[in-house]
Amino acid sequence: MKLAPRRLLTIAIALLVLVLPLLPVPEFWITQLNLIGLYSIVALGLVLLTGVGGLTSFGQAAFVGVGAYSTAVLTTQFALSPWLGLLAGVVITVAIALVLAALTLRMSGHYLPLATIAWGLSLSYTMANVEGLGRYDGLLGIPALHLFGISLHDGRRMYLLIWAVALLAALATQRLLDSRPGRAIRALKGGAAMAEAMGISTYRYKVVIFVCAAVLAAISGWLFAHYQRAVNPTPFGLNRGIEYLFMAVLGGVGQVGGAFVGAGAVKLIEDKLQEWLPLLTGTNGNYEVIVFGVLIVLVLKYAPDGLWPAVSRLLERWLPLARRVIDWAHAARLPERGRPQAGDVLLQVQSVRKEFGGLVAVNDVSFELRAGEIVGLIGPNGAGKSTTFNLLTGTLALTRGSATFAGHTIAGLPARAIARLGVSRTFQHVKLLPEMTVLENVALGAHQRGRRGVLSAMLRTDRDEERRFFAEAQRQLERIGMGAQLHELAGNLPLGPQRLLEIARALCTDPVLLLLDEPAAGLRLQEKQALAAVLRQLKGEGISILLVEHDMDFVMGLTDRIVVMEFGTKLLEGTPAEVQASPAVRAAYLGTEH
């Protein structure tokens, strides 16, 4: 297999890091690197949680503490194996993380960090006051680890284990981000409503990344305990928790490499400050926090992406990122759901109503849609068309009324449940993930058609399913004429193609009913004609379409029936010819003659 140059460089760096202790490196630097490795493991978790997922935690140091104290207690007081200590630490950590997640993650994003502050403080006071945990003195005499019969009792030997774990954690995180769960995780920050409309439970993935980050911290704590051979409450306090977050922010919070850059930078800066500041102030004290505090503010103000973009630009110049290799040419098709008989009633909307305070945005609107039909929803601006869409797809909760889809009641269901029934949509204001490629954005639509999870992603046992996802995404993109732009970043596309991308993503969900919100806006004439042809072809395949559109030529030429809305109320329903002939519709759009 031919390796991309970027990957060769990564492997070379990893090997260099691992052989370092065999070289005559001074003991001081081995100690520094050991600590940097331990910090990096924790910072990796925060990259996943904060940088990618848009959540944050100040309590990671407390999870490190759980990992360290679990093994310390089991090995010193019960003489059990350190491996049991690791297991216990991870199990306790997962349990705590699940409780905190269940309590906070259904609410706005800032409750999790507030809860982690309280939890971090509670844990450090507990460690400092419980007799069995040694109070402020902590626990001494933790045994060294043994691996394959070798005792890891000094820094140089421990180095290998610490860095092997750190590099494996980085590899696992990198793999996770490029997978089915990874795409969902990358949608959490800024794309949650879209992800829900693709059938993804964003709550579930928030829990997943919080637990992952906590487990990484606990593993770092386990290594720390067996490296230092003693634990006390100090390194697990809230201040260290904040420092971990700072490492991730300084390094470049969205990137796996940033965790290592940040951990290294913070450790080295801290050492230098502890050397210089006492000279400057004339007294000893924890003055480096002043510099760190000011640095956090400055970094967020002037370089919110941290140090990693600088490294990344350099890499990009010498070793451009390889495109995803197309290896899915022969991948099997994803499973498809059955389609209803043409002419059966598919969507039945009965007096749905939406009130925003005193404003009635949708006023008891009823209509139905049969399988294999294309129905247009038109009306002047502010008629309530997009609100009706949002009610039918569960993006907004309706005030009253009922809606059924293929016999299932969908009124009141969350967006993801409606999506899983086979209703897919596009958005009036395009919602895509600008940092992901076109192909990856579209593959997000196929999420609910696969089942591989986090572990498969980390172990790469998900590749077969991944190939099927990408084959499907490519097929849908080619169908709407975007086959040449698979590897472009979605954020670099003009508005027209971004709308087409949304249609491809909706098609990837294997929909029975497609709701398109102004699909032709921003398209040129030829593109509109091509889009109309695709929609007709979809209709031929038994997919039903409900569309909101302002381009009357497009609507009149394409739809079987049209529902006209004005001021939230249904004005008229009929064939394109009937609607065009109606004086009421003309009055709604153009005003009445006096």
Partner: protein, 355 residues
């Protein structure tokens, strides 16, 4: 536990709770107006208590400024932060070519801190009457609020809540470190303002606790009047409800931010003066005190002023019972109560993604 002890503990708890209520109200106010979750609110408490202590007793051993006179470190901290803010502002305006405006801005920022420094250097505030010292303390600590807003938050006004929260943590780090630099590591305990005692059956009500109840209640009433009856208060409420809308009506978010930070710093400093006689205050004690106000603010969903006040009294009472029955685990118990509070909140208003 007999009812007398319970009554004593409750009274004690309500006393602390009244102080936490001020902090909780300040937290809710800042979040509503600026979306900043202001972790360092407690730092103003410590600064208030320590400034007053230094005016009363002089500088501690180990603080950087003991060599430079007998004045509270906060004075120099204020001068330093004002100088930095003035320098940044002036450079920016100067670059735009508006030299006269640059000079005027710098003078406005520096006027109050300079006046305070001159006043303190020329007179001898340690011999002032207590009331004058209290007012001087408030005058020194309160301007720190808008300066902190100016330096840390103003340019990030449109950032996400998450980014602002991380900035808050950075500000907390910086202020704690500066606190150590300017106040030293020693603890202070202030003398009570009023050492009268009144017996109410088995209970004893101290003059100090009457002052605490009185000032908290007065401040809450003043806040209410401010929000209901004044144009500026209504402007702040408008900003809290809809920032863009308020901006279109000519309310500057920066002015609203500065005003709310001024109020928060004032409330913090006042809390520090109130709590100073009943507990030893170190340079970093403010953090824990502020976080207790925070638990109450979370109870209020960072949104409701009355709920925040109720929550604060609850926190105070839980704390006083916890310190009686398990004193080593007092803080653990207080901070663990945030878990049922969060459970209650998440059941009460399950959240829909805001985008």
């Amino acid at each position: 536990m007999d009812p007398t002890i319970a009554a004593i503990l409750t009274l004690d708890g309500v006393g602390n709770g009244a102080i936490y209520a001020l902090l909780a109200l300040a937290t809710v106010l800042l979040f509503a107006v600026t979306r900043v979750i202001f972790i360092p609110q407690g730092e103003f408490v410590a600064f208030g208590a320590l400034t007053f202590a230094m005016l009363q007793q002089g500088n501690p051993v180990g603080s950087l400024w003991q060599r430079y006179g007998d004045l509270p470190g906060t004075l120099w901290l204020l001068a330093l932060i004002a100088l930095i803010a003035a320098a940044i502002d002036a450079t920016r305006t100067w670059r735009l070519g508006q030299r006269r405006r640059a000079r005027r801005e710098a003078l406005t920022t520096l006027a109050l801190p300079t006046a305070l420094v001159v006043l303190c250097v020329l007179s001898h505030p340690r011999s002032w009457p207590m009331l004058a010292q209290l007012l001087l303390t408030l005058a020194i600590v309160t301007p720190l609020g808008p300066l902190v807003y100016r330096l840390a938050y103003q340019r990030l006004a449109d950032a996400s809540v998450l980014v602002l929260l991380i900035v808050s943590v950075g500000v907390h780090f910086a202020l704690t470190g500066l606190g150590l630099l300017f106040f030293g590591a020693e603890a202070f305990r202030n003398p009570p303002f009023w050492d009268a005692r009144f017996s109410l059956g088995p209970l004893t009500l101290t003059g100090q606790s009457i002052i605490i109840f009185g000032s908290s209640a007065a401040l809450i009433v003043l806040l209410w009047l401010f929000f209901e009856r004044t144009l500026r208060g209504k402007a702040l409420r408008a900003t809290a409800v809809n920032r863009t809308g308020a901006r279109l009506m000519g309310i500057s978010p920066a002015t609203a931010g500065r005003l709310s930070f001024t109020m928060a710093a004032f409330m913090g400093a006042l809390s520090g003066l109130l709590i100073g006689p009943s507990t030893s205050v170190y340079y970093d004690s403010g953090f824990l005190i502020g976080l207790k106000g925070f638990v109450a603010a979370v109870f209020a969903g960072l949104a409701s002023y009355p709920l925040a006040a109720v929550g604060a009294l609850g926190v105070g009472i839980i704390e006083s019972f916890a310190s009686f029955s398990a004193s080593a685990f007092k803080e653990v118990i207080v901070f663990t109560t945030i878990l049922p509070v969060l459970l209650w909140r998440s059941l009460r208003d399950p959240h829909r993604e805001e985008e």
